[in-house]
Amino acid sequence: MIEKTVQCPKCSKIIACSGNPGDVVKVTCPQCGNEGKATFKKTIPTNDMAIEVSNLRKLYGDLVAVDNISFSVKTGEVFAFLGPNGAGKTTTVEIIESIRSPTAGAVKIFGKNISTSFNAVKAKIGVLPQEFHSFELLTVRETLIYFSKLYDKRADIDEIIKIMDLASHKNMLYKNLSGGLKQRVGVAISLVNDPEIVFLDEPTTGLDPKARREVWGVIAGLKKKGKTVFLTTHYMEEAEHLADHIAIIHKGKIIAEGTLEELIEKYGTGSTLHIKKCRDANAIEMLKERGYNVKSEGNGDISIKIDYKERVLEILSNLRYDCVDYDSIDIRQSNLEEVFLNLTGAKLSEEPA
């Protein structure tokens, strides 16, 4: 038996109800008497593996694009495959989607080996390929209908249009849509068969910050609906913002894997206090004498490692006591960029394509 809450569409009262997976339960609002239904989805236990990749290897001649990688994706999580351009992300995801063949290794989706049972898996996955552009002369709605009719099991197209906030554009030709809308349509296409796993390959590349946020909203919505999302990206903020689990790939190898917190804990440098334009030449020496881990960042900027948050007040008091003059301060948390820097010696955003 599962317990959940629903909101009355009439008076907004939150109502508790319970049912078994797959049940549709009648609910009556105790406040206004409005009657409605609550659906209990057939959920798969979250510890089940949606995707299992073992010893995957892909060679293009002498070039090793994917170098013996193994990882797994749990059902219901957003899995971010993070890495710079050319790291092997798309090759890996396209092998999982059966668009490419591996040189060695195996991929299982819901326990089925895709090299022998991919046709059985097709109905359970939805794919947005990298740099996907749909049929230019079909409208948004016609495009969704086209792709949905390829499947036996289909989601409600109007519902997808609503979820993706495409209602006002549904009769527009695909070619006339903006980049952000095209990506939203791409994601919508990947949902037409109500898939259990959604693969999104670099869904926000080339989009402006506003459009990127819109796509993030859509991906967050997929997670809420219980979908497993396999997201490849080279934007660390995207992985930080969306992912439950992150694998960092570099030069064909997975160099780190875990939750955001685990990665920062393991490979980050903790929090840092940054002092901008410090005008006292002896400030670094004075702070070092007091036992702080201090580093010059150039142009008078100083960074001080913080072990615990109370240290910030302590440092600021000392600076005041020593009459050190500066422009401003800020506290920076460790992030994936720093994790990547620590792991590879290069910034993720500066890695060559």
Partner: protein, 369 residues
């Protein structure tokens, strides 16, 4: 194989086609335009009045009789060149494309022919070889008038002679010749470029990768696309036939050979497009490659002009081009009603189609390397 999926893809292709100005232009406007333009340019050849300049150097009763015979030919308007003029200078000065000279002693030789079977005389027909249209028609008319005259004079014995003329102008009006060629050319263009678009643009746009992850099979997809290409081929054929009938009064014969040849042509050039699309990955380069193949073929395979007007080496080369057999097959089935030749041409087109289409299908892959 799920018919629902095939129909879905066919309907989507139809919607895209009906909204694309480019494909509408190439499948309807362009062939109609060419039929109207070429028809208008050569329409004078249908019920013509050709001006023929004649210089009578004999000025005898027989030369006058022959001139009167020529004047009675309704399509000829006879103009006389004074006998004292130098014919080559006169032609040059007056920019004439053709002139007939009745030589001195013409009447005497004709009279002689009544008792001397070896007596003969040759008229001289001066013509501009670059003007294949009008001059060849005039030569053809002269040849047949000479035949009549010889028949009248001696019961068929050769008295008055002239050069041989091309047989092709005797057989067709130009528009009869042109429209089947135009149909073959249009079907070729639609199928090659349509096929290339699917195999290069769809690959670049990730549509083929996307389809690889859906339940549609390659067979269903190719079948749907071929149904669409057949629709386009027959649609553009119908437009050409309707324009031919309504505007130029052409009488076409619609028969199983013509239909078979159009179906085979669609498969043939769709297969060729698949092959090009497989080896030339970029859309723009693929278009150029298609143009490099289809445009020379259009000119060399007797689409616009009879093969007989080309040098012998090019005529031999044309016979290895599939479009030549398409054009000939369509002419033999639609215009000449020579079904034996149509069957032969159609058979060759079907063999070409089988080879190109099978190779094209084998080479068409959705999966990336």
């Amino acid at each position: 194989m799920k018919p629902r999926i095939v129909v879905t893809d066919f309907v989507a292709s139809m919607k895209g086609w009906s909204r694309s100005r480019g494909t509408i232009f190439w499948s309807i406007v362009f062939p109609v335009m060419l039929i109207l333009i070429f028809g208008a340019i050569f329409s004078g050849t249908d019920n013509p009045t050709y001006t023929l300049q004649v210089q009578d150097l004999d000025n005898s009763t027989w030369s006058h009789t022959y001139l009167d015979n020529l004047k009675n030919i309704s399509v000829l308007k006879i103009e006389i060149i004074p006998a004292d003029k130098n014919i080559t200078d006169y032609i040059k000065e007056n920019d004439l494309r053709g002139a007939l000279v009745i030589p001195e002693g013409f009447g005497e030789k004709v009279n002689q022919s009544f008792y001397d079977k070896n007596a003969s005389v040759n008229l001289s027909f001066y013509y501009d070889p670059s003007d294949q249209g009008a001059t060849s028609v005039v030569r053809s008319i002269l040849a047949s008038s000479l035949q009549e005259t010889n028949l009248f004079l001696t019961g068929g014995h050769h008295v008055i002679g002239m050069d041989q003329v091309s047989t092709i102008t005797k057989k067709f009006k130009y528009i009869d010749f042109f429209i089947p060629g135009m149909i073959g050319f249009t079907v070729m263009q639609l199928c090659i470029y349509g096929s290339i678009e699917r195999n290069t643009k769809y690959r670049k746009d990730g549509i083929l990768r996307k389809l690889q992850t859906t339940p549609i099979t390659r067979t269903e997809w190719i079948l749907a696309k071929m149904l669409f290409m057949l629709f386009l081929s027959f649609f553009s054929t119908a437009i050409a036939v309707i324009i031919g009938i309504l505007v130029w009064g052409v009488v076409f014969n619609i028969n199983i050979w013509m239909i078979s040849i159009i179906i085979a042509t669609s498969f043939l050039f769709s297969g060729l497009g698949m092959i090009i699309g497989r080896f030339v990955k970029e859309e723009e380069t693929a278009d150029t490659a298609a143009g490099a193949i289809s445009f020379p073929m259009m000119f060399l395979a007797g689409t616009f002009f009879p093969l007989e007007q080309m040098p012998a080496a090019l005529q031999a080369f044309a016979k290895i081009l599939p479009l030549y057999y398409v054009n000939e097959g369509l002419r033999n089935s639609m215009i000449n009603m020579d079904f034996g030749k149509a069957a032969l041409n159609g058979g060759i087109v079907i063999i070409f189609a089988a080879v190109f289409f099978i190779v094209g299908v084998i080479l068409t892959k959705w999966k990336e390397d």
